[in-house]
């Protein structure tokens, strides 16, 4: 069962990577990052069945970091939207030089 959970985690992570690479909407890219964090959480929980409750502690830390990241990232997106009137990553090329 742990092997199946790790496989599911790998599949979800790969789906998240595909989403980050193929989408241009900044909010959807952010949600793909959340999906990848969820996949990592799944493998933490699966391995915590083998190695004790430490994995679940780290899941709590990952959730905290995800919440902080969502707050700051969405604030950045709102701030960019005020300047560019768009959340398309094609339009956000200020640092491209």
């Amino acid at each position: 069962m742990i092997a199946e959970a790790l496989t599911l985690s790998a599949v979800l992570f790969a789906i998240g990577v595909i989403g980050v690479l193929t989408r241009r909407n900044a909010i959807i890219v952010f949600m793909c990052v959340e999906l990848m964090l969820n996949a990592v959480n799944l493998s933490f929980v699966a391995l915590s069945k083998l190695y004790g409750a430490t994995g679940q502690v780290f899941v709590i830390f990952v959730m905290t970091v995800a919440a902080a990241e969502a707050a700051v990232g969405l604030a950045i997106i709102i701030s960019i939207f005020r300047h560019q009137e768009s959340v398309n990553l094609k339009d956000i090329n200020l640092l491209r030089g």
């Binding site: 069962m1 092997a3 199946e4 959970a5 790790l6 496989t7 599911l8 790998a10 599949v11 979800l12 992570f13 790969a14 789906i15 990577v17 595909i18 989403g19 690479l21 193929t22 989408r23 241009r24 909407n25 909010i27 959807i28 952010f30 949600m31 793909c32 959340e34 999906l35 969820n38 959480n41 799944l42 929980v45 699966a46 391995l47 083998l50 190695y51 004790g52 409750a53 430490t54 679940q56 502690v57 899941v59 709590i60 830390f61 959730m63 905290t64 970091v65 995800a66 919440a67 902080a68 990241e69 969502a70 707050a71 700051v72 969405l74 604030a75 997106i77 709102i78 005020r82 959340v87």
Partner: protein, 182 residues
């Protein structure tokens, strides 16, 4: 496990929720509308919460529903509503043909790599250091997590509060509307 059908039922539901998670994740990546994508991601998170409960991590399952599906996704939907992005735009936000092929290729290559790493017969102790599972019989389900969280990782736990404080301050500063003349 008194009933002999219980393991069968267990694995049936395990695969069921796993398939729901994968299907919802695929739907999430392919939806055009951000609201529909967020809803499918919520479905994925609920399926993952069910899997957590099945893997004896009930507390994490509850946290998953409360924090991820309840709080973080609401913030995402709130931003979508605030910026009025709910309707799918006329021009697709997908990358072009070569971009999509490249993304799919990289994703599948990563999947193959991770799967070989998971499947190979290498000793797991080379990847994961062997920590003796100190299962406290009297601690219960949450007691084990709390004992580890508030004893072994107390410093990290306290630093997490500093991280959240910084995130709150950063979000307020970034989201504040600046005056045009300043």
């Amino acid at each position: 496990m008194q009933n002999e059908f219980l393991p069968l039922l267990y694995s049936f539901h395990f695969y069921l929720f796993g398939l729901i998670a994968i299907a919802a994740a695929l739907a999430f990546v392919t939806r055009k509308s951000p609201v529909a994508a967020a809803m499918w991601l919520v479905v994925t998170m609920f399926a993952l919460a069910a899997l957590y409960v099945m893997m004896d991590a009930q507390f994490i399952g509850v946290m998953q529903v409360l924090v991820y599906a309840g709080a973080i996704m609401v913030v995402f939907l709130f931003v979508v509503m605030l910026l009025n992005l709910g309707h799918p735009s006329e021009i697709s936000d997908m990358r072009g043909k070569w971009g999509r092929i490249f993304g799919g290729f990289v994703g599948l290559a990563l999947l193959a790599e991770v799967l070989t790493l998971t499947r190979n017969p290498m000793d797991l102790r080379l990847i994961v250091p062997a920590i003796p599972a100190s299962v406290n019989a009297t601690g219960g389900i949450i007691g084990n997590v709390a004992g580890s969280l508030f004893h072994d990782y107390l410093l990290a736990f306290e630093l997490t509060s500093v991280l959240l404080l910084i995130a709150i301050a950063g979000a307020v500063v970034l989201g504040k509307k600046r005056n045009a003349n300043s």
